[in-house]
């Protein structure tokens, strides 16, 4: 594997690579870029992600978006229609199945067949590659709102080709965020390079005046991820995407549950990413924010799940996220029925509507949180750039190798897995173990103090048991995993 660097892919290399990529599955043949440009140019603005979220962002509104995808096109369309009408969704997704995410198109094909036979979806998402450009367009044409591709695919080149040509106007993922939490043996150097392709493809559309939105996957493993970790990853992916010509970015963050920390995270995500983009010469890139309702283990009980959904919606609205990704009351059990999915949306809509005119004040505790997040991100990213000899891509790869960047609970072998998060006495997520993160003394001391506070309150030592208790806590009706009495 040749080393990746953060540099725009040369046109001829890109075109050569495209030829290979499109051979990945027979449906690749149908991708005709010129025709796709025309298709996009003729699309209604209301179906395009960029104008819709840009307007929301200007108005300070928080839009709502579900996750949803089933194997068969007719059913997928009817599902999305239902979520739009009954669920009052503002934006729609097409969640891709796990086989497609692993480029296992043959298994996906089986899944389609079995689904037809069994009369229910045997895939956990929509196999867009197998369906191809035409069927994707069928989805887009049936839905009078913007539709985004959501997945978790380390190598999403073919998926991007097909779905963009298919009329989708937003694409989730990134070379880090769709690798480390979603793969076991895939080299980040490879995924960065594959995602440079995806970003270049979007840059290519962009050069035709076709605005496609790009969204790095903020929540990573969804489980007690400290904001500075996901921010660092998000900002790195933003920088890499911008370099390939992407102009519209939505950066994401997964709720942790402490309101002040969550609002601080949303505000710093916006500010920091804009600063880093500007410093890298991309001041013209638009940044919006995405808030994910709690991404870790959910309560089994539906009434309790509604509470978790509501509290996530409240944090999203008070933190002025541009959009919020919605969970459902079935979260702990399985892929939701359409009714459960619509229910999660309606709960979210009600909260977002009730809170949109309230706002939150810039308080001292909020300032402190923001300052700490910013310091941590700056310390991490400074080391990333340094170790990358001034190159963000090279730096990212080496940083994971060295544990300078490290994602809690990530399954990837390329992740150090040395850091350990735990909640402090107010429920904010802190570092119980900072591993090899390049934090200064002040940051270290801050986290230690916060966890000592909790340990004292709980009359037990700071230990891995706290982490386990915290992992279970929300699922068991709490925020902080206090020792059971």
């Amino acid at each position: 594997m040749k080393e990746v660097i953060n540099q725009r892919i040369a046109e001829k290399d890109f075109l050569a690579a495209r030829e290979e990529v499109l051979k990945g599955w027979p449906t690749g043949e149908d991708v005709d870029l010129k025709e796709a440009f025309k298709y996009h140019q003729a699309m209604d603005e209301k179906k395009r992600m960029v104008p819709v979220i840009t307007q929301a962002d200007r108005q300070g509104k928080t839009l709502i978006q579900p996750r949803a995808g089933v194997a068969l096109p007719e059913e997928h369309i009817s599902l999305l229609q239902f979520l739009l009408e009954e669920g009052e969704a503002d934006l729609l997704p097409t969640t891709i199945d796990s086989y497609t995410r692993q480029n296992q198109y043959r298994e996906a094909e089986n899944g389609i067949k079995e689904s037809r036979e069994m009369g229910r979806s045997m895939l956990n998402g929509f196999p867009a590659v197998n369906h191809g450009v035409g069927i994707c367009r069928g989805v887009i044409e049936a839905i009078p709102a913007p539709v985004q591709v959501r997945h978790g695919t380390p190598d999403a080149r073919l998926l991007a080709e097909i779905t963009l040509a298919g009329g989708f106007t937003d694409f989730e993922g990134g070379g880090l965020s769709y690798n480390l939490p979603y793969a076991k043996r895939v080299d980040p150097a490879d995924t960065i390079s594959h995602w440079q392709y995806v970003d270049r493809l979007i840059g290519y559309y962009q050069e035709q005046g076709i605005n496609i939105n790009r969204e790095p996957f903020g929540p990573l493993t969804g489980t007690l991820v400290p904001p500075s970790i996901s921010h660092s990853v998000g900002i790195l992916e933003a920088l890499l995407a911008a370099e390939q010509g992407v102009k519209y970015l939505s950066l994401g963050y997964g709720q942790n549950g402490n309101l002040i920390q969550d609002v601080a995270a949303l505000q710093t995500l916006r500010d920091l990413s804009k600063r880093y983009l500007a410093e890298a010469g991309h001041a013209d890139v638009q940044v919006t924010t995405v808030f994910h309702q709690w991404m870790g283990g959910f309560p089994q009980d539906e009434a309790k799940a509604y509470a978790v959904i509501s509290w996530g919606s409240a944090a999203a609205a008070l933190g002025r996220a541009t959009k919020v990704i919605v969970k459902t009351p079935h979260e702990a059990m399985g892929i939701p029925t359409r009714e459960a999915n619509a229910a999660g949306l309606k709960t979210t809509k009600q909260i977002v509507n009730m809170l949109q005119d309230q706002g939150i004040e810039q308080t001292k505790r909020l300032d402190i949180e923001k300052e700490m997040i910013s310091k941590e991100v700056d310390q991490i990213l400074a080391r990333v750039l340094e170790i990358g000899d001034g190159d963000w891509a090279r730096g990212a790869v080496r940083a994971f190798e060295a544990g300078i960047l490290d994602i809690p609970f990530a399954p990837s072998r390329y992740n150090s897995g040395k850091i350990m998060p735990a909640r402090d006495n107010h429920g904010a997520v802190r570092f119980l173990n900072t591993g090899k993160l390049p934090f200064g003394k002040e940051v270290q001391a801050f986290h230690e103090k916060k966890l000592d506070e909790r340990a004292q309150f709980e009359e037990r030592d700071v230990s891995f048991q706290m982490v386990i208790d915290d992992i279970y806590a929300i699922g068991k009706g709490m925020l902080i995993g206090r020792p059971r009495d």
């Binding site: 045997m122 793969a183 076991k184 702990a332 399985g334």
Partner: protein
Amino acid sequence: MTQQATVVLGVIGADVHAVGNQILAHALEEAAIKVVNIGVMASQKEFIEAALETGADAIWVSSLYGHGEMDCRGLRDKAVEAGIGDVMMYIGGNLVIGKQEWSKVEDLFLKMGFNRAYPPGTMPEEAISDLKEDLALRGV
């Protein structure tokens, strides 16, 4: 238990859900059971090979992402072929797609050859105590 039991632990298929796997490994170790953790995205072959190599008493399969039904078919046959047909096999997680009646799901997996199946939200302690019982019956 007279000797230390060994469990092969892993998440089957293209499934990357890693958190439960890490907690299960920890809980088994705490219970003085030897854990061979093959981690996420483990194929049927990897499960069987690990069990063969380590002479494991049990295989604990997790499936969270909904493709469990397709991913697990034939696992028991592979064990039989490998000559470890009587290895204890447990499965847990979010085994099928969507919220379905548990008794039906359990049936499905028991018929597939698993000795026990666990619904979402199972605490490790519960399955560990079942395991100790099952193995005791076998004299392990």
